[in-house]
């Protein structure tokens, strides 16, 4: 369970504060995987970043007893000047693992990017970056995996691999996933939240969430 206590998030703009979220009080159940829906700029990434501790609410607190991963996104997380291996070593160390060689090998096997593993991240393609980032997050036994569009850039092999991996850890690990692809959300998530009115609505069935999202935002 992830507990939102009076959470507000705003950004200062020329016309005063722009609120993304205002006074959210909610206990988000984490018994199943959750898809996050909303149009561009609604705050999907901000929400995931706040849950992952990469960003802080402007007011209020987000508490949880669960082990939550960092947000796996396209930007951030991996440091461009370091190689994939060095990034893995760094993350293992900040998680308190002193013998990092096992984890380095595990991620190398999953990412399967050959000699690029020892080249700086900045030379990677988006897909290769995602392979390392995803492999790295799978190497830890997180209760909650935060995925921000990271699986959508991969090729067919990577998609299949990540899908299998998520199926395998399904019993113990749930995801909170941001994606614009409804098919992907239906594949990975059982529940969903729709961001609207500076707040979010929780649906325990992803189908209802998608329906709500389409009724609210998709006007053709």
């Amino acid at each position: 369970m992830i507990h939102f206590r009076n959470v507000s998030k705003f950004y200062p703009t020329r016309n005063g504060r722009t609120y993304i979220f205002k006074d959210i009080n909610f206990k988000l159940p984490m018994a199943r995987s959750i898809g996050v829906l909303g149009p561009n700029g609604a705050g999907k990434s901000t929400l995931v970043r706040m849950i992952g501790g990469a960003d802080t609410p402007s007011r209020g607190h987000i508490d949880s007893d669960l082990r939550i991963s960092w947000p796996l996104g396209l930007q951030g997380g991996l440091q461009g000047s370091m190689s994939g291996r060095e990034n893995v070593r760094f993350v293992a160390r900040i998680n308190g693992i002193s013998n990092t060689s096992i984890i380095e090998q595990e991620v190398a096997n999953f990412a399967d990017i050959g000699r690029y593993y020892d080249e700086p991240i900045r030379t990677y393609s988006n897909g290769m970056r995602s392979r390392v980032a995803f492999g790295l997050s799978l190497a830890f036994d997180f209760d909650v995996l935060l995925i921000d569009e990271v699986t959508s850039v991969g090729d067919a092999t990577f998609r299949k691999k990540s899908q299998q991996a998520l199926q395998r850890i399904r019993e113990t690990t749930h995801v909170i996933m941001v994606s614009h692809e409804m098919k992907q959300l239906q594949e990975f998530c059982e529940a969903g939240i729709v961001i609207k009115n500076q707040n979010f609505v929780f649906h325990s069935c992803i189908k209802n969430a998608i329906q709500d999202y389409q009724e609210t935002y998709v006007k053709l």
């Binding site: 960003d55 996104g73 000047s81 160390r93 308190g96 036994d141």
Partner: protein, 263 residues
């Protein structure tokens, strides 16, 4: 393939994070510039020797009865230490921004990491240069060793507090380090690197003594040499400034703590 993520206390998390950052930063310094550590040692040494040679050519090989090289080095070292450490610290937080997406890494961690590296480098260089001078036949045993150690620790404390203030300014104005180095340059001439205050007419003292860096050079020489006693070096003044910059730095850090995280 799950590796168990142990539950740790906040202090343990910080210790693990800082040691991971240490390994990372040391490696990137060794990797990019192989001669980096050589220059750290050679630069202040060369600077002191150049000035010493000029003085010798001018016909002075002792100032206040002290050999020029040692005299200059005791001014160059704390001055360079102060400017180098504060500029390095000013970019410590900003240049590690990408890592704040891990909840374990908070903005103060890379600052502490760089502080450890810079302080250790300074103390090692100081000691090594003294040993080299000792081998070259200089009298390098200080008159008041405890005071020499204390003045250097106080310099490190002030430089790091000032560095924290700068690290806060960097997020508002990216070019802060450039402006800072412009300010530091003229300070080289008024911080008592190639003079002691007793060589200056006393009615100028009240202006020069505003500069805290002058106090570091004055008190260093006072602690080192038997035949120099500083009339102006003020422990109280630089202690107050140290407390002041740390107070300001911590207050700014608290106010800006969200801003450091924002991309």
């Amino acid at each position: 393939m799950s590796n168990f993520v142990a539950r740790r206390t906040p202090v343990q998390v910080m210790r693990d994070t800082v040691s991971a950052l240490l390994a990372r930063e040391l490696k990137s310094r060794f990797g990019s510039k192989k001669l980096g550590y050589f220059w750290a040692l050679a630069e202040p040494g060369l600077q002191a020797s150049v000035i010493a040679v000029i003085f010798t050519i001018l016909g002075r090989n002792s100032l206040s009865g002290v050999p020029v090289a040692l005299f200059i080095l005791l001014g160059v070292l704390p001055f360079r230490g102060f400017t180098k450490i504060s500029t390095q610290l000013s970019t410590a937080i900003k240049s590690n921004k990408a890592l704040f997406s891990y909840r374990q890494v908070s903005p103060i961690d890379p600052f502490i990491t760089r502080l450890i590296i810079e302080a250790a480098t300074y103390l090692i260089i100081y000691t090594l240069l003294m040993i080299i001078l000792f081998w070259s036949g200089f009298q390098v045993i200080p008159e008041k060793p405890m005071e020499l150690i204390l003045i250097n620790l106080l310099m490190l404390a002030m430089a790091s507090g000032y560095g924290l203030v700068l690290a806060n300014m960097v997020i508002f104005y990216e070019d802060t380090p450039r402006i800072i180095s412009l300010i530091h340059q003229p300070l080289f001439f008024v911080s008592g690197i190639f003079f002691v205050i007793t060589m200056i007419p006393s009615h100028y003292w009240e202006y020069l003594t505003w500069n805290p860096l002058l106090h570091f050079t004055e008190l260093s020489r006072d602690a080192m040499f038997f035949n120099y006693q500083t009339p102006v070096g003020d422990w109280f003044y630089i202690s107050i400034i140290t407390i002041g910059v740390w107070g300001t730095g911590l207050a700014l850090y608290w106010v800006n703590r969200h801003r450091f995280l924002a991309a």
